[in-house]
């Protein structure tokens, strides 16, 4: 898959993982593991980019005697998810068209 496209999809996946409430790095990786392959090395730059673009906020809190960072989605983050879903409908229409053409070619 094109790197830019994959990056964009992963960003929205992370935002979706935060849409039900705040979360932390490892929990996000675990939540997304059935759907996308992602380790912390992929997640870290994504979180940084999303924080930089105002799609999420970060707060540190104590957990078991150490600090843990919790990420929360912002209104901009929700807007990003909505815009991704709208744009993806166009992509799916094109996908159906291409897939349909291939079916005709096979026949």
């Amino acid at each position: 898959m094109d790197a830019q496209l994959r990056r964009g999809i992963l960003e929205v996946c992370v935002l979706k993982a935060l849409s039900d409430g705040e979360s932390y790095g490892y929990r996000i990786v675990k939540e997304l593991s059935p759907y996308v392959t992602m380790s912390e090395s992929t997640l870290y730059p994504i979180l940084k980019r999303l924080e930089g673009s105002g799609a999420l906020t970060v707060a540190s809190r104590e957990h078991n005697g150490r600090l843990r960072k919790y990420y929360s989605i912002t209104a901009e983050g929700f807007r990003r998810i909505a815009s991704f879903l709208t744009e993806w409908e166009d992509v799916m229409r094109a996908y159906d068209y291409i897939k349909g053409d291939q079916r005709h070619e096979k026949n």
Binding site: G25, Y26, E40, S41, Y44, P45, K48, R66, L67
Partner: protein, 208 residues
């Protein structure tokens, strides 16, 4: 690899970045490893699961702004120059003697890149200007033809006003074209920045 070894190696590999950035990164991975250990993994399993050092460093570098990469590269070069101070005199002499060659090549390269960038900007600017001129000029013509101009009879006034509206609608048609041009040009700039960054980072990798 233990967590301490992993974090020490990560700190070393990112040593050229500002301290705050390195600390933020190591804190993130320390937390990720600790979370995985809390979940039942051994320390070594947790370190292996967060990703390889090469992947981590590559991801971080590819996400750095171009300005940081260039600044880092300049600082690297300065550090290396300090280390090899013994040959500094000779290098300066060679640089001065070959100045007509490298400077003209550098200036030509800069001129080509600059003119290409200026050309692309001018293209977007031209479309934008055409769009504004057509819309504003068209609307003004449409209104003035009916209200102010001293044409005898209604027909020439209506014709001129219609021509004005046609101009304005042409201007509206140019709006998506301008937006597309803007998108293409910004895409070209972003792609160029990525290629330059990749070249610089590859250069660093081979020299390290």
């Amino acid at each position: 690899m233990s967590m301490d070894e992993f974090l020490a190696q990560l700190t070393h590999r990112l040593g050229y970045l500002p301290y705050a950035e390195v600390k933020k990164t190591t804190d993130f991975y320390r937390e990720a490893i600790a979370d995985r250990m809390e979940d039942g993994m051994t320390e070594r399993e947790a370190v292996a699961a967060v990703g390889s050092l090469d992947d981590i460093v590559r991801e971080i570098e590819m996400n750095l702004p171009l300005s940081t990469v260039v600044k880092t590269r300049v600082e690297d070069a300065r550090e290396r120059a300090k280390e090899r101070r013994g040959n500094l005199g000779l290098k300066i002499v060679i640089l001065i003697l070959t100045f007509p060659i490298w400077f003209s090549l550098l200036a030509a390269g800069f001129a080509v890149v600059f003119s290409l960038a200026a050309g692309l900007f001018a293209l977007v600017l031209a479309f934008g200007a055409a769009e504004i001129a057509l819309i504003v000029g068209g609307l003004v013509t449409a209104v003035l033809a009916l209200v102010i101009l001293p044409y005898p009879g209604l027909a020439p006034r209506l014709m001129l006003s219609g021509a004005g509206l046609l101009m304005a609608s042409l201007g509206l048609l140019v709006i998506p074209v301008t937006a597309l041009m803007e998108k293409i040009v910004s895409g070209v700039f972003r792609y160029t920045a990525r290629v330059v960054k990749r070249c610089i980072l590859r250069g660093r990798g081979t020299e390290a």
